[in-house]
Protein backbone atom coordinates (compact mmCIF):
# COMPACT_ATOMS: atom_id res chain seq x y z
CA UNK A 1 0.00 0.00 0.00
CA UNK A 2 1.26 3.48 -0.76
CA UNK A 3 1.16 6.27 1.81
CA UNK A 4 -2.13 7.69 0.46
CA UNK A 5 -3.81 4.32 1.05
CA UNK A 6 -2.42 4.12 4.56
CA UNK A 7 -3.82 7.59 5.26
CA UNK A 8 -7.23 6.38 4.01
CA UNK A 9 -7.02 3.33 6.33
CA UNK A 10 -6.09 5.50 9.34
CA UNK A 11 -8.79 8.09 8.52
CA UNK A 12 -11.45 5.35 8.28
CA UNK A 13 -10.19 3.72 11.48
CA UNK A 14 -10.05 6.98 13.44
CA UNK A 15 -13.47 8.09 12.17
CA UNK A 16 -15.00 4.73 13.11
CA UNK A 17 -13.43 4.93 16.58
CA UNK A 18 -14.84 8.44 17.09
CA UNK A 19 -18.31 7.21 16.05
CA UNK A 20 -18.05 4.53 18.73
CA UNK A 21 -16.41 6.40 21.59
CA UNK A 22 -17.68 10.02 21.48
CA UNK A 23 -21.41 9.21 22.02
CA UNK A 24 -20.43 6.81 24.84
CA UNK A 25 -18.33 9.40 26.69
CA UNK A 26 -20.94 12.11 26.07
CA UNK A 27 -23.66 9.95 27.63
CA UNK A 28 -21.47 8.95 30.60
CA UNK A 29 -20.84 12.65 31.28
CA UNK A 30 -24.58 13.37 31.09
CA UNK A 31 -25.36 10.49 33.43
CA UNK A 32 -22.90 11.85 35.98
CA UNK A 33 -24.58 15.25 35.91
CA UNK A 34 -27.30 16.28 38.37
CA UNK A 35 -30.00 14.78 36.12
CA UNK A 36 -28.45 11.29 36.46
CA UNK A 37 -30.36 8.46 34.78
CA UNK A 38 -33.10 10.92 33.75
CA UNK A 39 -30.57 12.37 31.32
CA UNK A 40 -30.93 9.21 29.20
CA UNK A 41 -33.48 9.90 26.43
CA UNK A 42 -36.26 7.26 26.43
CA UNK A 43 -36.01 6.72 22.66
CA UNK A 44 -32.43 5.59 23.17
CA UNK A 45 -33.42 2.85 25.60
CA UNK A 46 -36.03 1.67 23.08
CA UNK A 47 -33.61 1.77 20.14
CA UNK A 48 -30.98 -0.42 21.85
CA UNK A 49 -32.99 -3.68 22.01
CA UNK A 50 -34.48 -2.95 18.58
CA UNK A 51 -30.96 -2.73 17.12
CA UNK A 52 -30.33 -6.27 18.41
CA UNK A 53 -33.59 -7.42 16.78
CA UNK A 54 -32.43 -5.80 13.52
CA UNK A 55 -29.06 -7.58 13.72
CA UNK A 56 -31.04 -10.82 14.21
CA UNK A 57 -33.13 -10.09 11.11
CA UNK A 58 -30.02 -9.43 9.02
CA UNK A 59 -28.21 -12.54 10.26
CA UNK A 60 -31.18 -14.88 9.65
CA UNK A 61 -30.54 -14.81 5.89
CA UNK A 62 -28.43 -17.94 5.12
CA UNK A 63 -25.03 -17.60 3.43
CA UNK A 64 -26.44 -19.40 0.37
CA UNK A 65 -30.21 -18.88 0.46
CA UNK A 66 -32.03 -21.89 -1.01
CA UNK A 67 -34.88 -24.14 0.12
CA UNK A 68 -32.72 -26.46 2.24
CA UNK A 69 -30.86 -23.65 4.03
CA UNK A 70 -34.17 -21.87 4.79
CA UNK A 71 -35.64 -25.08 6.25
CA UNK A 72 -32.42 -25.61 8.23
CA UNK A 73 -32.62 -22.01 9.48
CA UNK A 74 -36.25 -22.43 10.57
CA UNK A 75 -35.54 -25.71 12.39
CA UNK A 76 -32.35 -24.34 13.93
CA UNK A 77 -34.20 -21.30 15.28
CA UNK A 78 -37.04 -23.49 16.65
CA UNK A 79 -34.55 -25.71 18.51
CA UNK A 80 -32.62 -22.67 19.79
CA UNK A 81 -35.85 -21.17 21.13
CA UNK A 82 -36.96 -24.46 22.71
CA UNK A 83 -33.63 -24.97 24.51
CA UNK A 84 -33.59 -21.31 25.60
CA UNK A 85 -37.15 -21.69 26.94
CA UNK A 86 -35.98 -24.59 29.09
CA UNK A 87 -32.56 -23.34 30.24
CA UNK A 88 -32.78 -19.49 29.94
CA UNK A 89 -29.07 -19.28 29.10
CA UNK A 90 -27.05 -18.21 26.03
CA UNK A 91 -24.54 -21.01 25.36
CA UNK A 92 -26.49 -24.26 25.13
CA UNK A 93 -29.33 -22.90 22.96
CA UNK A 94 -26.74 -21.60 20.47
CA UNK A 95 -24.88 -24.93 20.42
CA UNK A 96 -28.14 -26.86 19.93
CA UNK A 97 -29.26 -24.49 17.16
CA UNK A 98 -25.98 -24.73 15.24
CA UNK A 99 -26.01 -28.53 15.62
CA UNK A 100 -29.55 -28.74 14.22
CA UNK A 101 -28.78 -26.34 11.38
CA UNK A 102 -25.59 -28.22 10.49
CA UNK A 103 -27.27 -31.65 10.74
CA UNK A 104 -29.99 -30.63 8.28
CA UNK A 105 -27.46 -29.12 5.86
CA UNK A 106 -25.04 -32.08 6.02
CA UNK A 107 -27.88 -34.63 6.02
CA UNK A 108 -29.36 -33.24 2.82
CA UNK A 109 -25.90 -33.02 1.25
CA UNK A 110 -25.16 -36.67 2.05
CA UNK A 111 -28.63 -37.77 0.94
CA UNK A 112 -28.39 -36.12 -2.45
Amino acid sequence: MNSALWIAVFASAFGTLLIRVVPFLWMQRRLNSAAGLNAMPQWLTVLGPLMIAAVLGVSIVPVNPHAVSWVATFLGLCVTLAVWWRLRSLGWPVAAGVLTFGTVQVGVLLGS
Binding site: L50, M51, G57
Partner: protein
Amino acid sequence: MNSPVDHQIPDHHSPVRSALQGVREAIPLLGGYVPVALSFGLVATQAGFTTWEAAAISALIYAGASQFLFVGMIAAGSPLWLVVILTLLINIRHVVYGPNLAALLPRSRHWPWLMHGLTDQVFALALTRLPQLPDVKRFSWFLGASLFAWAAWVVGTIVGAMAGEAVTARWPLLGEVMPFALPALFLTMVAPRFTDKRWALAMLVTIMAALAFTLYGLSNVAIPLAAALGALCFYSITFTHRSRRL
Protein backbone atom coordinates in the same frame (compact mmCIF):
# COMPACT_ATOMS: atom_id res chain seq x y z
CA MET B 1 -22.78 -21.11 29.98
CA ASN B 2 -24.22 -18.39 32.18
CA SER B 3 -27.03 -17.85 34.58
CA PRO B 4 -29.81 -15.43 33.64
CA VAL B 5 -29.35 -13.47 36.84
CA ASP B 6 -25.90 -13.10 38.32
CA HIS B 7 -26.31 -10.14 40.64
CA GLN B 8 -24.50 -11.57 43.64
CA ILE B 9 -21.27 -9.68 44.32
CA PRO B 10 -18.53 -12.27 44.81
CA ASP B 11 -16.55 -12.20 48.05
CA HIS B 12 -13.24 -12.31 46.20
CA HIS B 13 -13.73 -10.50 42.91
CA SER B 14 -11.06 -11.40 40.39
CA PRO B 15 -10.73 -9.16 37.28
CA VAL B 16 -9.04 -12.04 35.46
CA ARG B 17 -11.96 -14.37 36.20
CA SER B 18 -14.46 -11.75 35.01
CA ALA B 19 -12.43 -11.21 31.83
CA LEU B 20 -12.37 -14.96 31.21
CA GLN B 21 -16.13 -15.06 31.72
CA GLY B 22 -16.38 -12.38 29.02
CA VAL B 23 -14.17 -14.48 26.73
CA ARG B 24 -16.27 -17.59 27.37
CA GLU B 25 -19.52 -15.78 26.67
CA ALA B 26 -18.14 -14.25 23.47
CA ILE B 27 -17.28 -17.67 22.01
CA PRO B 28 -20.63 -18.01 20.13
CA LEU B 29 -19.72 -14.79 18.28
CA LEU B 30 -16.88 -16.70 16.61
CA GLY B 31 -19.40 -18.65 14.57
CA GLY B 32 -20.16 -15.46 12.70
CA TYR B 33 -16.76 -13.78 12.95
CA VAL B 34 -14.46 -16.53 11.69
CA PRO B 35 -16.11 -17.31 8.31
CA VAL B 36 -16.50 -13.60 7.51
CA ALA B 37 -12.93 -12.81 8.60
CA LEU B 38 -11.65 -15.72 6.45
CA SER B 39 -13.62 -14.33 3.50
CA PHE B 40 -12.29 -10.83 4.08
CA GLY B 41 -8.68 -12.07 4.17
CA LEU B 42 -9.26 -13.96 0.93
CA VAL B 43 -11.01 -11.04 -0.82
CA ALA B 44 -8.35 -8.56 0.32
CA THR B 45 -5.46 -10.63 -1.05
CA GLN B 46 -7.35 -11.19 -4.29
CA ALA B 47 -7.74 -7.39 -4.50
CA GLY B 48 -3.96 -6.99 -4.30
CA PHE B 49 -3.38 -6.38 -0.57
CA THR B 50 -0.68 -8.35 1.27
CA THR B 51 -1.55 -10.55 4.25
CA TRP B 52 -0.25 -7.98 6.73
CA GLU B 53 -2.04 -5.10 5.02
CA ALA B 54 -5.32 -7.07 5.24
CA ALA B 55 -4.58 -7.78 8.91
CA ALA B 56 -3.87 -4.08 9.54
CA ILE B 57 -7.20 -3.08 7.95
CA SER B 58 -9.01 -5.61 10.16
CA ALA B 59 -7.14 -4.53 13.29
CA LEU B 60 -7.59 -0.79 12.71
CA ILE B 61 -11.03 -0.39 11.08
CA TYR B 62 -12.61 -3.54 12.65
CA ALA B 63 -16.03 -3.27 11.00
CA GLY B 64 -16.99 -6.11 8.65
CA ALA B 65 -19.23 -4.57 5.99
CA SER B 66 -17.23 -1.35 5.69
CA GLN B 67 -13.96 -3.30 5.32
CA PHE B 68 -15.35 -5.20 2.32
CA LEU B 69 -16.52 -1.89 0.86
CA PHE B 70 -13.13 -0.29 1.53
CA VAL B 71 -11.19 -3.05 -0.23
CA GLY B 72 -13.70 -3.31 -3.09
CA MET B 73 -13.69 0.42 -3.80
CA ILE B 74 -9.89 0.63 -3.64
CA ALA B 75 -9.64 -2.29 -6.09
CA ALA B 76 -12.13 -0.52 -8.39
CA GLY B 77 -9.99 2.64 -8.33
CA SER B 78 -12.48 4.89 -6.51
CA PRO B 79 -11.24 8.23 -5.11
CA LEU B 80 -9.85 7.77 -1.59
CA TRP B 81 -11.95 10.57 -0.04
CA LEU B 82 -15.11 8.79 -1.29
CA VAL B 83 -13.87 5.46 0.11
CA VAL B 84 -13.35 7.03 3.55
CA ILE B 85 -16.74 8.80 3.56
CA LEU B 86 -18.69 5.69 2.54
CA THR B 87 -16.79 3.56 5.07
CA LEU B 88 -17.80 5.97 7.83
CA LEU B 89 -21.39 6.23 6.57
CA ILE B 90 -21.83 2.45 6.86
CA ASN B 91 -20.52 2.59 10.44
CA ILE B 92 -22.70 5.54 11.49
CA ARG B 93 -25.24 3.12 13.06
CA HIS B 94 -22.71 2.56 15.86
CA VAL B 95 -23.57 6.05 17.17
CA VAL B 96 -26.43 4.68 19.29
CA TYR B 97 -24.48 1.74 20.73
CA GLY B 98 -22.22 3.66 23.13
CA PRO B 99 -24.98 5.70 24.83
CA ASN B 100 -26.97 2.51 25.51
CA LEU B 101 -24.00 0.99 27.36
CA ALA B 102 -22.96 4.20 29.14
CA ALA B 103 -25.17 3.59 32.18
CA LEU B 104 -24.02 -0.03 32.44
CA LEU B 105 -20.26 0.54 32.47
CA PRO B 106 -18.10 2.29 35.10
CA ARG B 107 -16.04 5.38 34.29
CA SER B 108 -12.52 4.56 33.12
CA ARG B 109 -9.69 6.29 31.30
CA HIS B 110 -9.42 3.20 29.07
CA TRP B 111 -12.72 3.67 27.22
CA PRO B 112 -11.27 5.80 24.38
CA TRP B 113 -9.40 2.73 23.09
CA LEU B 114 -11.64 -0.02 24.48
CA MET B 115 -14.67 1.33 22.58
CA HIS B 116 -12.82 0.30 19.41
CA GLY B 117 -14.22 -3.16 20.13
CA LEU B 118 -17.87 -2.05 20.05
CA THR B 119 -19.18 -3.95 17.00
CA ASP B 120 -22.83 -4.91 16.32
CA GLN B 121 -22.31 -8.31 17.92
CA VAL B 122 -20.33 -7.14 20.97
CA PHE B 123 -22.95 -4.44 21.58
CA ALA B 124 -25.78 -6.97 21.45
CA LEU B 125 -23.97 -9.32 23.83
CA ALA B 126 -22.98 -6.52 26.23
CA LEU B 127 -26.45 -4.96 26.34
CA THR B 128 -27.91 -8.36 27.25
CA ARG B 129 -25.29 -9.55 29.75
CA LEU B 130 -24.05 -6.41 31.55
CA PRO B 131 -27.33 -5.74 33.43
CA GLN B 132 -27.10 -9.30 34.81
CA LEU B 133 -23.57 -8.82 36.18
CA PRO B 134 -22.54 -7.01 39.37
CA ASP B 135 -21.00 -3.56 38.73
CA VAL B 136 -17.58 -4.69 39.90
CA LYS B 137 -17.32 -7.37 37.17
CA ARG B 138 -18.52 -5.32 34.21
CA PHE B 139 -15.30 -3.57 33.11
CA SER B 140 -13.27 -6.79 33.08
CA TRP B 141 -16.10 -8.70 31.40
CA PHE B 142 -16.27 -6.13 28.57
CA LEU B 143 -12.47 -6.13 28.28
CA GLY B 144 -12.37 -9.93 27.91
CA ALA B 145 -15.31 -10.21 25.50
CA SER B 146 -14.32 -7.32 23.22
CA LEU B 147 -10.59 -8.11 23.05
CA PHE B 148 -11.31 -11.78 22.34
CA ALA B 149 -13.72 -10.90 19.51
CA TRP B 150 -11.24 -8.39 18.05
CA ALA B 151 -8.36 -10.89 18.20
CA ALA B 152 -10.51 -13.58 16.54
CA TRP B 153 -11.35 -11.13 13.75
CA VAL B 154 -7.70 -10.27 13.10
CA VAL B 155 -6.46 -13.88 13.30
CA GLY B 156 -9.34 -14.98 11.02
CA THR B 157 -8.28 -12.36 8.48
CA ILE B 158 -4.66 -13.54 8.55
CA VAL B 159 -5.69 -17.19 8.10
CA GLY B 160 -8.07 -16.19 5.30
CA ALA B 161 -5.34 -14.19 3.55
CA MET B 162 -2.76 -16.97 3.87
CA ALA B 163 -4.90 -20.05 3.30
CA GLY B 164 -8.46 -18.87 2.63
CA GLU B 165 -8.88 -20.82 -0.60
CA ALA B 166 -7.42 -24.02 0.91
CA VAL B 167 -9.61 -23.76 4.05
CA THR B 168 -12.86 -23.17 2.17
CA ALA B 169 -12.02 -25.94 -0.31
CA ARG B 170 -11.26 -28.43 2.50
CA TRP B 171 -14.26 -27.54 4.67
CA PRO B 172 -16.86 -26.12 2.28
CA LEU B 173 -19.63 -26.25 4.90
CA LEU B 174 -17.61 -24.20 7.42
CA GLY B 175 -18.72 -20.98 5.80
CA GLU B 176 -22.35 -22.12 5.70
CA VAL B 177 -22.92 -23.79 9.07
CA MET B 178 -20.88 -21.71 11.53
CA PRO B 179 -22.56 -18.35 10.73
CA PHE B 180 -25.81 -19.79 12.12
CA ALA B 181 -24.35 -19.20 15.60
CA LEU B 182 -25.14 -15.50 15.16
CA PRO B 183 -28.93 -15.66 14.56
CA ALA B 184 -29.14 -18.34 17.26
CA LEU B 185 -27.31 -16.08 19.73
CA PHE B 186 -29.36 -13.00 18.87
CA LEU B 187 -32.58 -15.00 19.16
CA THR B 188 -31.72 -15.88 22.76
CA MET B 189 -31.12 -12.16 23.37
CA VAL B 190 -34.41 -10.86 21.99
CA ALA B 191 -36.59 -13.74 23.24
CA PRO B 192 -37.02 -12.34 26.80
CA ARG B 193 -38.70 -9.19 25.34
CA PHE B 194 -41.51 -11.26 23.84
CA THR B 195 -43.29 -11.46 27.18
CA ASP B 196 -44.67 -7.95 26.59
CA LYS B 197 -47.15 -7.41 23.68
CA ARG B 198 -45.90 -3.94 22.78
CA TRP B 199 -42.26 -5.03 22.73
CA ALA B 200 -43.12 -8.27 20.91
CA LEU B 201 -44.82 -6.42 18.05
CA ALA B 202 -42.01 -3.85 17.72
CA MET B 203 -39.40 -6.64 17.77
CA LEU B 204 -41.28 -8.68 15.16
CA VAL B 205 -41.64 -5.66 12.84
CA THR B 206 -37.91 -4.93 13.24
CA ILE B 207 -36.83 -8.52 12.54
CA MET B 208 -39.07 -8.88 9.47
CA ALA B 209 -38.03 -5.47 8.12
CA ALA B 210 -34.32 -6.23 8.55
CA LEU B 211 -34.84 -9.62 6.87
CA ALA B 212 -36.68 -8.01 3.94
CA PHE B 213 -34.08 -5.24 3.50
CA THR B 214 -31.28 -7.82 3.48
CA LEU B 215 -33.06 -10.04 0.96
CA TYR B 216 -33.44 -7.00 -1.30
CA GLY B 217 -29.69 -6.31 -1.11
CA LEU B 218 -29.92 -3.41 1.36
CA SER B 219 -27.98 -5.08 4.16
CA ASN B 220 -25.85 -1.99 4.81
CA VAL B 221 -28.86 0.14 5.82
CA ALA B 222 -31.01 -2.72 7.10
CA ILE B 223 -30.07 -2.37 10.79
CA PRO B 224 -30.77 1.35 11.34
CA LEU B 225 -33.82 1.41 9.02
CA ALA B 226 -35.42 -1.69 10.55
CA ALA B 227 -34.76 -0.43 14.10
CA ALA B 228 -36.32 2.93 13.18
CA LEU B 229 -39.42 1.14 11.82
CA GLY B 230 -39.61 -0.93 15.01
CA ALA B 231 -39.36 2.23 17.13
CA LEU B 232 -42.14 3.85 15.06
CA CYS B 233 -44.28 0.78 15.74
CA PHE B 234 -43.40 0.86 19.46
CA TYR B 235 -44.49 4.48 19.85
CA SER B 236 -47.53 4.43 17.54
CA ILE B 237 -49.24 1.22 18.71
CA THR B 238 -50.30 0.75 22.31
CA PHE B 239 -52.31 -2.07 23.82
CA THR B 240 -55.09 -1.41 26.30
CA HIS B 241 -55.53 -3.86 29.16
CA ARG B 242 -59.12 -5.05 29.47
CA SER B 243 -60.28 -6.08 32.92
CA ARG B 244 -62.40 -9.23 32.75
CA ARG B 245 -65.57 -9.27 34.85
CA LEU B 246 -66.52 -12.53 36.52
